[in-house]
Structure formats: C-alpha cells, structure tokens
C-alpha cells in the first residue's frame, strides 16, 4: 500500500480545513526518512513551551499472511506512524501520542501533553532529559525483509500447504514482516534514528487424526537468512514422529530443551533482573540486610548471558535516548549485573542499563543431534506453552510442553510421549547444565542454544496434542 501523503494535510482536504502542506513519505516500507524524522521532531519540539520535551517516533509498514487448515485464512498490510510527545514542567511530566501529523493535530497533542503535565503531581523520581549522544550505527534493516509482499508470502504458505495436502497432514502458519524506522529527539538537541526490519515465521503441522503435532520457527532481521523449506521440514518431521505418544508418568527427568524452550527460560530470568526490586527486598535476588545476589553463582558455570545490540541489529538507543551498550548480566554462571533504570542507577551510584534486551546466551560447539546422540535418557522438549508466574520469590513458573515431546534413550529419540505441565524456575532448571548446543538465532533480537539439564520438574500429564 502506498502512503502518498502525510496524514494531516489529507485530513484537512477531507474536511476543507487548512493545515501545513503535505510532504511525501518517499517509501512506506522505510517509514520516515532520517530527514523527515528530524524535521517532524523539530516541528513538534518547536511547538512546546515546556521546560523539557522529548519525541519518540515509530513509523513503517507491517504485513502478514496467516494460514490454517491447509488454506490461507487472512492476510493484511498496514502503514502507520506514531509520535509520543513527552513534556515536563519542573518535576511534572506527561506523555501524549498521536498518529495525526498536521500542524493543528500536533499542536493539540502538544497542548494536551502540557495540560496533563501541569495537572500531574511532582514526580520525585524524575530524571532530566539526556544530552546529545553519539549513537553507533547499527545495521538492522534488510531489503529482503522489506520486500516480502503478499504474493511472496502466499508462495511460502502455498509450499507448506501443498506438502501438507500431499502428505495427508494439516498445516497452520504465520509469516509476519515489519519494516520502518524509529527516532528519538529531545529539547537538548539529542537525536537518534534507526531503521530496522524484522521477520518471524512459525508453522504447526498436525496429523489428520489430530494425534500428532509438530512446530518449527525462524526469526531474523533478514528474510534471506531464513530458509522456509528447512523450517517446513522440521515441523513436518516433528509431526510425523509425534504420532501415538506413549504415556510417561510425571516426575523429575533429565531434559533436552530445544532453543525455543531455552529462550523462554532466559526471558523469564531476564525479567527478574531488576535491581530496584532486589534492593527493596522483593526479588529472588534480594538477600538479608541490604545485600543482593550480585557475585553469587546462580546458574551453571557454562552459562553466560549478554546484551549484544550491535550483533543482533537492535536499536542503538532506548526510549529515553540512553545509548544502548553491551552488558554482561551473567558471567560463567555468576550474577554480574542487575538492570538499572536511570533513576535507580542515580540513587545507587550505578550505571543505568535499561531492561535486558538483545540477549545472547553462551553455548557449546555441538549440534542438537550430537547432544541427543550422547544422551542416556531424557525428555526432549520442542517448546513450552502458557507460561505463568507462580512464585516471584523463586522465579517459579508453570507451563506446558507442546508440539513434539519425546523420550530419548541410548542416544536416540525412542518414541513420542504425552505432554506435561511443569512447575520450575530458571534458577533451578539451569543450575546445572550437562550440554549446550551452538547458539541459534530464534528471533530478531535473541540467540540461545539447546541445553541438556539433569533435572526438570514435570508435575502432571497434559492430554493435549
């Protein structure tokens, strides 16, 4: 879909009202260009009389194709651009966001933000806007992704559907693309601009009788780095092998977690790394007195966890304009850093880190197949599902296994088993690791390995397939 005009003038023409002349958005699949973003943020910042102000811009194009029961069920595309305007008077702050960029609408949004900010009580935790920073150029935009149009997406779906029809299987999948640019600017002259793309592809293959189910996934910034044929084969193979699962009693078993499952555990861990909660005594990393678990070995010593925005093509700035830097959270199993907001970092004399994103977990040099080949006995988990917090004191979660759970013995997959509900914590599950595969890119901003752990807590049987 072409977006030929900025919204404001267009609205004005419909209404017969007057507004700033429209400038063409040269390419909706790139979102706003750097010049357009700079001009728009300057225009907005010029409208406010607040002590400080910041604008966050998001703009671009999204497209997706969805298929199920061996047919394309929905497909759509949308273009949009959104400006979030934050203004401050002293310690009073408010944010208003809008996707209407004509002068009158922007003025109304700025005034509305100013009005809300004046009404808001003082925030003692307010941090001043940042000074201009030099952001490193991070390549996160891939043409192959941005040009993945509806026909090309339909071809990918058609390939999976044709295979499902010929093999008597039923397939459902989702291919989602986004392309665009984000920008941040503030009243101190700070400006950052980052174009990026992302693509995620998943599919589920089920046997016609509903007694087998397999799933595979690929995610990247660059579509040309994904091989849909390989992803398809993985899902089809899982589905074939998962038919007629044998009953396995719940209990504590050694487990091989494929990268998608490891990724879930790492995500749970990352969200528990907040320094403030630890300092305030309400975190798994709080310790009696004023202490935290910093320096303690919390995971197997082969596990390190780092934020690597450059390597994963992520934005070089955070929402508030803070430069994103590489951070080592866990080093050889030891808790190195907790995550600090700017306010809490200032209070505690620490460096602000922001939320742990763009994560890379260390791995080994084996393949998943090699790990299976040297396994005496274990439950092989393809993926987890419906993970919910049970006890934040221990980062205990519950969830289920899904779409390919197998019994491995004597170095090979012996047979499929029923799915399980599990109750476990990344701190327990990853306390000891027996094997790690080479890390695998599981999404645009995450890379993790498959792992074999000696004990995972499967608490009841799930009949679901």
């Amino acid at each position: 879909m072409q977006r030929r005009e900025l919204i404001g003038a267009s609205l004005a023409r419909v209404r017969g009202a007057s507004a700033a002349p429209a400038r063409p958005l040269s390419d909706p699949r790139r979102g706003l260009s750097e010049d357009e973003a700079r001009a728009l943020t300057e225009r907005i910042l010029g409208m406010t009389t607040a002590d400080e102000a910041r604008v966050n811009l998001g703009s671009g194009w999204r497209g997706n194709t969805r298929y199920a029961v061996n047919r394309i069920t929905t497909a759509g595309e949308a273009t949009d651009a959104q400006a979030a305007i934050t203004v401050r008077f002293g310690r009073r702050e408010a944010t208003v966001s809008t996707n209407r960029f004509d002068d009158a609408s922007l003025r109304e949004a700025v005034h509305s933000a100013e009005r809300l900010a004046r009404l808001a009580p003082e925030d003692p935790e307010m941090m001043p806007e940042l000074s201009p920073a030099n952001y490193r150029g991070i390549e996160g935009y891939a043409e192959a992704t941005a040009s993945l149009d509806a026909s090309t997406r339909a071809e990918v779906a058609a390939d999976a559907i044709a295979r499902a029809r010929s093999e008597g299987m039923e397939v459902a999948g989702f291919l989602e693309v986004d392309a665009g640019a984000s920008a941040v600017a503030n009243s101190n002259g700070l400006f950052g601009y980052h174009p990026s793309t992302g693509v995620d592809y998943t599919l589920t293959v089920r046997t016609a009788d509903g007694r087998g189910s397999g799933w595979a996934q690929g995610g990247h910034r660059d579509w040309s780095s994904l091989n849909p044929g390989v992803i398809h084969s993985r899902a089809f193979e899982k589905a074939m092998r998962s038919r007629e699962p044998r009953p396995l009693e719940p209990g504590v078993y050694p487990a091989i977690l494929e990268p998608a499952a490891t990724d879930d555990l790492i995500g749970l861990l990352a969200s528990a790394l907040d320094a403030r909660r630890a300092d305030e005594g309400r975190s798994a990393f709080s310790r009696p007195g004023e202490a935290t678990a910093i320096g303690e070995r919390i995971l197997d010593e082969r596990i390190s966890l780092r934020s690597d925005p450059v390597g994963l093509g992520s934005s070089p700035f955070m929402n508030d304009g803070l430069p994103v830097t590489p951070v080592t959270w866990i080093d050889d199993g030891r808790l190195e850093r907790l995550s600090y907001s700017r306010y809490w970092a200032d209070r505690r004399g620490a460096e602000p880190t922001g939320f742990p994103g763009s994560l890379r977990m260390s791995g080994g040099d084996q393949t998943l197949e090699q790990i299976i080949a040297e396994t005496e006995r274990a439950v092989l988990v393809t993926r987890f599902w419906y993970i919910r917090s049970v006890d934040p004191r221990t980062i205990l979660y519950t969830g289920l296994t899904r779409d390919g759970t197998f019994w491995v013995e004597d170095g090979r997959i012996q047979y499929p088993v029923n799915n399980f509900r599990w109750n476990d914590s990344p701190l327990t599950a990853l306390a000891q690791v027996e094997a790690l595969s080479r890390p695998v890119r599981v999404s645009a901003a995450r890379e993790v390995p498959a792992v074999r752990v000696p004990a995972f807590h499967f608490s009841s049987v799930s009949e679901a397939v």
Partner: protein, 547 residues
C-alpha cells in the same frame, strides 16, 4: 431489532443507499465532502456513536473504500474507521509514575475475493488513501485466492442502514481532570501505607475509549462509542528481616464503565482489607498438598470459566484455525461433540452474550455489522453451541439449527483484521439463592479462594493450574485460617463435573479482563464473565512454596 436494555440507540436512520443485502452504491461525493458545521481545524471527524449520527466525512471514506474493493473484484467488503483513545495514570506510594494519553486513528478494509480474505489499513484518512486501501485489500484477497480450495461463505445478516450505539458509562473519563484521578489513587495508596507491615503500594487506572464506524457492503453503517475502565492496585508486604514478601493484586476487575467505576472502587474499607490480605499472607499456613473441596468466589472463578469454557468454545479454534498459536480445542469436531458432551452437572448453564450493560464485550453491532446476541452454550450441563462469526455460523448450522452469526467478530484496532473473539460468557446462578456464606457453611473440609492469580492451561484446554489472591481453610462450615502457596490442577471436564453446589443470584458477580490475547498478529479483547460462587469436590491441590 431490539433496543438493547434501554441504551439510547438514537436516530435509527435507514440509509437511502443501503438497499437490503445489496451493495452500498457510492453516491456523488460532492455533497458528502463538505466539512461538518462547526468543525475546527485539527479536530478529527466524529467517528463514534454517542452523538447519534453517522459523520458524513467518515461515511464518505468508508464508502470510497468499499466501492474500491468492489471495483477490484470483491464479492463482499467491510471497512472500519476507528479512533482509539487510551489514558493511563499510574502511581507508586506517594508519587506519580506515569501519565499518558494516546490517540490512534485510521481505516482498515477487509475484502472477500473469490472466497479469500484480504485486508489493508492506513493511517491516512483521505478519500484517495481509503480507495487505495480498498483496492489493496482486494488484491491481497486475489493473491490468496490462487491457493484457495474452500471459499468463505458468509451467514446472512439484515441490512440495518445507518445506526448508532454507545456503551453504558456515566462519566466520560476524558471529561475528568487528570488531577482528580491522581488524587484518588494517591489517597488509596496512603490508606494502604498506613497499615502495619505494608511496604509498597502501586495503583493505576487504564481508560479506553473506542469510537468506530463500520460499513459493510451488505448495507449497514454502525457508529459506536465504547468506554471501559481498568483500575488496579498492588499492595506488597515485606517481612521485617527481608526474608519474605507477599502481594495482594487484582483487587478489582475492569468494567465497561466510565470514571464512576474508578471513583467507586477504592474505598478506604476495601483498601484496608486488601492490605490486611497482603500482610496476613506472610504468616499464613502453607497448604497441605492433596485432594480438597474448593469453594470458589466469582472474583476467582471467572478466569477458570474464561480459560476452560471460553476458549475451547471458540469455533475457529475447534476447527484448527488457531492451531499455530493458541492451539486447538478438546471440543472437536463440532458434529461429534455438539449436544453430546456433558460439560458439568444438570444445574450448569453457560450463556454467551454481548448485551449486558457494563460488561466488557457488550456492543450494539460487531465488526461485521451483526447485532449483539444472547444464546445458550451449555444447557443443563450439555454443550450445545459455539461462539461464531458470519464466516463460521454455516459450519455448524446443521447441528445447531442456528443460521445467524452470534456476532463475535472483533478487531482491536483500525489496523487489525477482525476475527472471532470471545463474547461475555457467564455461568448462570442456581435456582436456590445460596450466598458465599451458605456454601462455606455447607462445607466440611475445604479451601475458599478469592481473586485471580497464576493461571495456565494447555493448548487444547484439558489440563489447567490456577491459584488465587486469598485462600482460607474451611473446617466444619467455617473459615479457620489463611493458607498460602495454594494452586489447583485439574482436567476441564473432570473439574466441571465435580461441581456439586452453586450459588444463587445474590452471589452473582461480573468480573473480567481488558487483555485477552488471541491470533497472529496478537490482538487483545476485553471480555467479562459473570458467575455465582460454586463448590468443586475433591480437586488436586499443590503446594507451590519452594523455599
């Protein structure tokens, strides 16, 4: 057409262009393109239904989009112009942590071409952009039709012409000064912080206002305004030696109400009681794992209903349409399970509806121009019907005898594709008017649970695990002590068939969620669930404490 519950459906105008069942023919645009009287620059066209008319500018955009889709080969199309407002205020202890407003506006068009769907959306609200979106939606539909073998067929619906509707709010939150909201929240925080043992408190509110106008080529243009409110509070007690902490959350549940709901939620008495819940949790007795009878309050049971009855009865899910994400359903295939599945005891009745005033999924018309409906899903314990859209109703017509869609199509934004979403689904109260105290009094050994907490269920909705905010041990008909670390696990049909006592109308309460997720890309849906108190025999309880 019922005028639902006295809600003002002002100015029902049968549009001259909306011939029943036929295409809306685009009239001459000159007459429509004039600006509205009194419209100021910078003010968007009026998209909602509260004013009782369909804005001519909005109508022009919609008709342009539909006409373009038809010209590009669509046999059916619908288009929505939406304006979505969100206001969020959040606080912790004695300070504010966020005030934000957002507005998003645009148009989305869905086109059916040779039985295949295409969708396109743009934030540009011009006639040209609407036309381009309509054409693009049809092109995407055509690209998909190349792979198609089972064309979509839509259930019939009446042409309603131009209609309007607004939800049941008293005070529009956008008419209330933000300082009133903040003062109210900080006052509530203060009450909590005055309680011994409370270390932290956060509170907030999220208001949503949706103004949307949908037009279909079947002859309906419906303009609607919906407002809903989600107040929240989280009270945390930390033990004096920092060795333990406990929180009381989910103290109230969202409603399709305005500012008045926030105003009424945080009374001092209520905040004191929630604070006591948090502090008392630290010294509560760890539960003995094993089989227990459970007495579940509506503030807890609604989520169990949502997960174990709401999701498995989504027809798209049962048919495999959600297999790649949310999963499928144990309630399949429809031809085998409809009328043949005993969900629970004779006194179990589940109703689907989008009509209860103040409930979250209540609407005048859904996103396909289908009027709100009320229907039985479980009757006398037997499963009898699913949730449906126009695409789906025909799939089970033979079993249900129902030709119409139940009106469950919903897209969460102008840029989202409408698909089947959960209506309000309620466990109807029993005939005898037992209250909570009566059910507890009739229980020898059990656990009484209030409030939602952890919840998890498998992808076919058999195996689930839930926990609550507050748990009490019941002995000989009395609550004797607080318990902690309580979670129960069960299989859906075993659980519902273990229900042996149900409260009456006086114990019936409506709770719900703002953020039910479904679909790819993920969309949220707000939905309510009414329920009385109920008792379940011999349910497996775990102790989740691990310290």
């Amino acid at each position: 057409m019922p005028n639902r519950h006295g809600m003002p459906r002002r100015d029902f105008v049968k549009g001259a262009t909306a011939a029943a069942g036929g295409l809306i023919v685009l009239p001459g645009l000159e007459g429509l393109a004039r600006p509205l009287q009194g419209m100021q620059p910078g003010h968007a066209p009026y998209v909602g239904g509260a004013a009782g008319y369909v804005d001519p500018v909005v109508k022009e955009l919609l008709l342009a989009a539909l006409d373009a889709a038809r010209s590009a080969g669509a046999e059916y199309a619908d288009a929505r112009v939406g304006r979505y407002l969100n206001r969020r205020v959040s606080t912790r202890e004695r300070q504010i942590t966020g005030v934000s407003d957002s507005e998003s506006m645009g148009i989305g068009v869905r086109a059916l071409v040779r039985g295949s769907w295409g969708f396109a959306a743009t934030d540009a609200l011009t006639r040209d952009a609407a036309t381009t979106a309509g054409t693009q939606a049809a092109r995407i539909g055509a690209a998909n039709a190349a792979v198609e073998r089972a064309p979509v067929r839509l259930a019939p619906v009446e042409a309603f012409g131009e209609v309007t509707w607004r939800s049941d709010y008293e005070v529009d939150p956008w008419d209330v000064p933000i300082e009133d909201m903040v003062a109210l929240l900080l006052e509530a925080n203060d009450v909590a912080l005055r309680q011994n043992g409370v270390g932290f408190v956060s509170s907030g509110v999220h208001f949503v206002k949706e103004e949307k106008t949908v037009a279909t080529t079947d002859g309906t243009i419906a303009a609607q305004t919906l407002i809903r409110a989600n107040p929240s509070m989280d009270i945390t007690a930390v033990s004096s030696d920092r060795s333990d902490f406990a929180s009381r959350q989910w103290v109230v549940y969202p409603q399709g109400r305005g500012y008045e709901y926030l105003r009424d939620s945080f009374t001092a008495d209520a905040v004191e009681a929630w604070s006591e819940d948090a502090v008392a949790q630290l010294s509560a007795t760890p539960v003995d794992a094993g089989e227990w009878d459970l007495v579940l309050h509506p503030s807890h049971l609604w989520l169990t209903i949502h997960e174990s009855i709401g999701h498995p009865t989504e027809l798209d899910r049962a048919m495999g349409y959600e297999a790649n994400y949310a999963g499928t359903s144990f309630l399949a295939p429809p031809a085998r399970v409809l009328g043949n599945t005993r969900y629970g005891p004779e006194f179990m009745n589940i109703q689907g509806e989008r009509t209860t005033p103040g409930a979250l999924a209540t609407v005048g018309w859904d996103d396909e121009g289908v009027p709100a409906d009320e229907w039985a899903m479980v009757r006398d314990g037997v499963f009898v019907d699913y949730q449906t859209t126009r695409e789906q109703a025909g799939w089970i017509e033979e079993q249900t005898g129902v030709r119409r869609s139940h009106g469950c199509a919903h897209g969460d934004s102008w840029s989202s594709i409408p698909f089947q979403r959960m209506p309000n689904m309620n466990l109807l109260p029993g005939e005898t008017d037992h209250g909570v105290a009566d059910v507890i009094a009739a229980t020898e050994r059990g656990i009484y649970i209030e409030g939602r907490s952890s919840y998890s269920i498998d992808q076919q909705r058999y195996n689930f695990q839930f926990s609550g905010q507050v748990a009490w041990e019941i002995r000989d008909g009395r609550k004797v002590r607080r318990l902690r670390d309580v979670a129960y696990q069960a299989n859906t049909l075993d659980f519902w068939n273990a229900m042996d006592m149900i409260g009456g109308p006086s114990s019936y309460e409506v709770h719900g969620t703002f953020y039910d997720g479904k679909g790819q890309p993920g969309q949220v849906n707000a939905v309510s669930h009414g329920s009385p108190v109920a008792r379940f025999r011999g349910i497996d309880v775990l102790n989740t404490g691990r310290r």
